[in-house]
Symmetry: C2
């Protein structure tokens, strides 16, 4: 079929070095080193259709070593995706080009996920491969029958998350996950041997992986290793021995090719070495044609699949899940389906369990889990059986003590589509998962984080387990909706809002301790982000703003103030980002300019100035302490008895 | 010697179950399961002297599975440490007791580090063992000759950071690090097999560790395995096969003993099973006496060591390093030692390199490193040679692509004493290290984080590499000083401040791009956290507050305003926590109440309301973008041309 493999690979090399040269910024070493491996994968094994990048049964390809983004852009262009165009590749790394420094799923349809933060691509692929097996078990081979491929570098394998991802994939027996490891023995600082003495395949084997290896520049050997991986029922690591920057005669094999342009002279020398006489960004016709032919190979497979879908008894349900729309009204109904069972005084984590019971019963696409805190996070409902290597149709994943791996896997599941993942840990351990939570937001992935034990209400476990700065610092991540509901009604509402938001993650911060019911059901007030929960009875002199477990304290404080003739509104603010999105009139009504505003939250006060102005901020700006929760609330001054006098004092001055 | 091993171990079991029972909160399973192993370790191998918990040449013992804190408290009490007392143990987990839910180094002298967040104890131990080998190489066996011991659970081993810690320890050949793995096959959710299928010893072996195993309830077998570990030159993992909650006849071996009190009946049954007839918190005299005798064993070894120290030619220098005082004036002088080489326009990461060159030349206790970004972080100075298994006297660690492992190891080094660690990565990857940064702050450990590429100034690498929320969210961690210097002068000042602060970490956020020199040397203005850099020329109508790379933009904006007759102060604010600690008068002088205040920072605006009130906040509340830095500053409106009109408009309204 047309041009030789070497020519096809050299097209990747040429585009990559030329684009990096034009930008004078980027990473030529990886695309040039992995060009042969990628060529074998894309021309012989990968199932894809450039005409429909979102074809549900396509293979997923993840460039975990995201700095080698030109490999991705070259492949998309060469195989005939609508984007990127050659002009967009010419503008690699320029403002406005979809060919960004690192691959971004929201810029290019052929990019499955956003990579660059090392280790996470491979960990997301674990989630994709899990979603594939799950949907295969729920539907069948006719509709779901694809593989997940990863190109990963030494950095991806050295990061801690790799251990979590590898352990999860091995335990779940994800045989359709194949990782091509770019073993070029080079990191930014120099030789890998500067910082690592690990036998990587032995480590993977210890977690139940199949391992193979090949000469990453020998097409037949690459194909042999890939065949082995496909045949083996375990997840596979293929060690591809490569030369970083291969083709650049003076710099290849060194860290000089890793992260900067080769330079004019070396690019010219590489052209010579590769026998590549075309001008920059020009691909000889026969090579271009051959690549495009390979790109068309998937069309008939895709068409066959479309026929099967059309004829399938569960085709409509499959499509519904893959489209993923959830109407807010439906979600709200399901979240309140078990309402009659909810006690009057209940921890919001327990209220969450009731909401989830309704949602998981109605929504088969919900897949839950916990990082080994199931009984604390209360994330497992009667609808959920365990998803395991023995039963991929299950809908509950025992993620183990792997918060970061869980979050990244959930990103992969959400991006795969067909499922909506949620997973729990303690809020304080959101720090462990934070890099993946950020990527949920950046990637616009619907992942729902169930973060319980959300304050000093944790009690005796002490400061290592008590979130102080977490809620506020999570609010700062763009496109992440942080919910901190105050009671069972708000908890159900926030669940519905999170489930219905398709283009971004939601994080629920939930209490360990019981909280009183403060709201009537009915209006979906949490959608506004904040609202007046109690209106002042006496003439209003204060607005108390609180979230979560402190709203009931605000209500008590208001009562104490009213008893002294001081009118006090109580505003419950379960979600800052939603409130900030309301119109100015609504915001001014809830938080009027001319009244003393006081925030109450069992966490850092930094940030609350946004709403209190020069009012009062009641919170905790030190680490917590070990003791019963009630003692801690008293110690930190988070009681109506402590707060009301401060407000009265402020009003006097 | 006195009471039998079993009785000694049962004293731990009894104290642990009784304390958890009294608190009705805590984790009896681990202390009861590991009581035999801990007894063997503390009575036969651990080098310690309860009379001087800070003896520099003591063995370090880290309870990585920190939830089993009663094991630690029992051992400290039984071996005769001044604290905890039996009354403090009676008050386990009560407010004010040093016997907190998880072991805290700032509460009890015998606790080497604060554990509970899983995986980090073992990773800190890697740092301790590194510090030991380094100081041994710099001094000699006469002064430094101790081991680091860890008790770790399945959770510690499953966390991603374990991979980084194991890789680092194996690579550095830390043969004096011995990890006792409590292999009880139980996690909170149930059997380990629910979530893991890993051959853990095989994984450790793949990273160059020695592995051994023993019956964790057979004293002779435990001792045999420990002897093996001591003899082997590699770091050792000892798999201790144990029964969680051993001694509780109906619950042992199950997750029911993990995280809650056994209950009155089961405690009574355990007393029966163990043959333990004493009342709660009472230890039979012979057992108490035997334990105390073991506690006294270290005194003579300690005395011999003290004699060697007194006679040693480098004894004074050793003691100086272990004490760790650094005078701010000295540090400032060293940080400016290379001042004459600093260019007028320089990136603060480059200015940092100059400051470090002076500091590392003057301070042999500084140990640097980078998570594989040495050439970007500019953390390696001419004084620093590589610390490796072949040369522990080196002072630069190639941490590899292990941000979290680096941070935790630095915590361990700082807590070990004798060294002051600093390490670099990109600021955006502070997220990867965040759980350890938090522990630096909680543990009051002098660790210095060198976080470069601190804004959209990163440019083409795009949103995955551009910190937006990071600076602000780090400012929220209590006891962490976040420095964002605006030029070379402030950079040197901030370095001096960080080095001289003994009881907490510092984090420097440094620019990739060149910045103009805005300051004179001389007064140590950064110590105030913020100060007036430029005073208004015309009548003051605005105070511009900025940090880091945006201070020069603030200066340009002030000039644009002054050109229109609008007086504008420029306040540089390199460190919020230091500014907040100034007296009210100083703060009011810098940020007067009656003037429009405008913040300018290339990051989230949430939080700046603290200083601007209802003024203006210029920043970025979305993710960044890929493109040249200059284009991005223009796109996000962070130029004097874009900012000045907004201010003028605000002044008009």
């Amino acid at each position: 079929m047309g041009a030789a493999d070497t020519d096809l690979a050299n097209a990747i090399r040429a585009l990559s070095m030329d684009a990096v040269e034009a930008a004078n910024s980027g990473h030529p070493g990886m695309p040039m080193g992995m060009a042969d491996v990628a060529t074998v994968l894309f021309t012989r094994y990968l199932k894809f259709d450039p005409a429909d990048p979102k074809w549900p049964d396509r293979d997923r390809f993840v460039l975990s070593a995201g700095h080698g983004s030109m490999l991705m852009y070259s492949l998309l262009y060469l195989t005939g995706y609508e984007a990127p165009t050659i002009d967009e590749i010419r503008n690699f790394r320029q403002f406005g080009s979809p060919c960004a420094g690192h691959p971004e799923n929201f810029e290019l349809a052929g990019v499955e996920c956003t990579t660059g933060p090392l280790g996470q691509g491979l960990a997301m692929a674990v989630g994709m491969a899990t979603a594939e097996r799950h949907l295969n078990a729920v539907f069948d081979d006719a509709l779901v029958d694809h593989r997940t491929w990863v190109i990963a570098g030494d950095g991806c394998l050295m990061e801690g998350i790799n251990h979590e991802a590898v352990g999860l994939a091995g335990h779940l027996g994800l045989g359709r996950l194949n990782v091509l490891w770019d073993d070029n023995r080079i990191t930014i600082d120099g030789a890998v041997s500067l910082s690592s003495s690990e036998d990587i395949p032995a480590r993977y084997a210890a977690s139940g992986w199949h391992t193979a290896e090949c000469d990453g520049h020998d097409v037949a050997d690459i194909a042999r290793a890939i065949e082995e991986a496909i045949t083996d029922p375990r997840p596979s690591l293929i060690r591809c021995r490569t030369i970083i920057g291969k083709g650049a005669p003076n710099k290849q094999g060194t860290s000089k090719t890793h992260g900067s342009a080769l330079g004019k002279d070396e690019v010219a020398a590489a052209r010579e070495t590769l026998g590549w006489s075309s001008a920059p960004f020009e691909i000889p016709d026969d090579i271009r044609a051959t690549w495009l032919d390979f790109g068309k190979r998937g069309a008939s497979v895709h068409a066959d699949w479309a026929e099967r879908l059309a004829a399938h008894a569960d085709g409509a349900e499959f499509t519904r899940r893959m489209v993923g729309n959830v109407a807010l009204d439906d979600a709200t109904g399901w979240a309140f389906a078990q309402w009659d069972k909810v006690p009057a005084s209940v921890a919001t984590r327990k209220a969450s369990e009731f909401a989830l019971a309704g949602l998981t019963a109605a929504m088969p696409e919900l897949i839950g889990g916990s990082a080994d805190l199931t009984g604390s996070n209360l994330t497992k409902t009667p609808s959920l059986t365990t998803l395991s290597a023995d039963d991929y149709a299950g809908r509950y994943i025992n993620y183990g003590i792997r918060e970061f791996g869980m979050a990244a896997a959930m990103n992969g599941m959400a991006l795969h589509g067909g499922v909506i993942p949620f997973g729990g840990t303690f809020l304080v351990f959101s720090d462990y998962a934070r890099p993946a939570i950020r990527l949920s937001a950046l990637q616009q992935a619907r992942v729902i984080y169930v973060m319980t034990h959300d304050s000093i209400g944790v009690g005796e476990d002490g400061p290592t387990h008590q979130p102080i700065e977490h809620v506020m610092s999570l609010r700062m991540i763009p496109n992440l909706d942080v919910y901190r509901p105050c009671d069972a009604v708000e908890t159900a509402e926030c669940w519905a809002l999170a489930v219905a938001k398709q283009d971004g993650p939601g994080l629920l911060a939930l209490s360990r301790q019981n909280l009183p019911l403060l709201r009537e059901t009915g209006d979906m007030l949490s959608a506004r982000g904040a609202y007046r929960l109690r209106a002042a009875k006496a003439a209003r002199q204060v607005v108390l703003i609180a979230s979560g477990s402190e709203v009931s304290i605000a209500v008590e404080t208001a009562e104490a103030l009213e008893a002294q003739g001081i009118g006090a509104d109580v505003v419950s603010m379960p979600c800052w980002s939603r409130f900030d999105a309301q119109d100015a009139e609504y915001r001014a009504d809830v938080l009027p300019a001319d009244v003393l505003k006081v925030s109450i939250e069992a966490g850092t006060t930094l940030g609350w100035e946004r709403y209190t102005g020069d009012g009062l901020r009641i919170g905790i700006d030190s680490f917590g302490a070990s003791g019963p929760a009630g003692d801690l609330y008293t110690h930190f001054g988070l009681t109506a008895d402590a707060i009301a006098p401060k407000i009265i004092n402020k009003l006097k001055n």
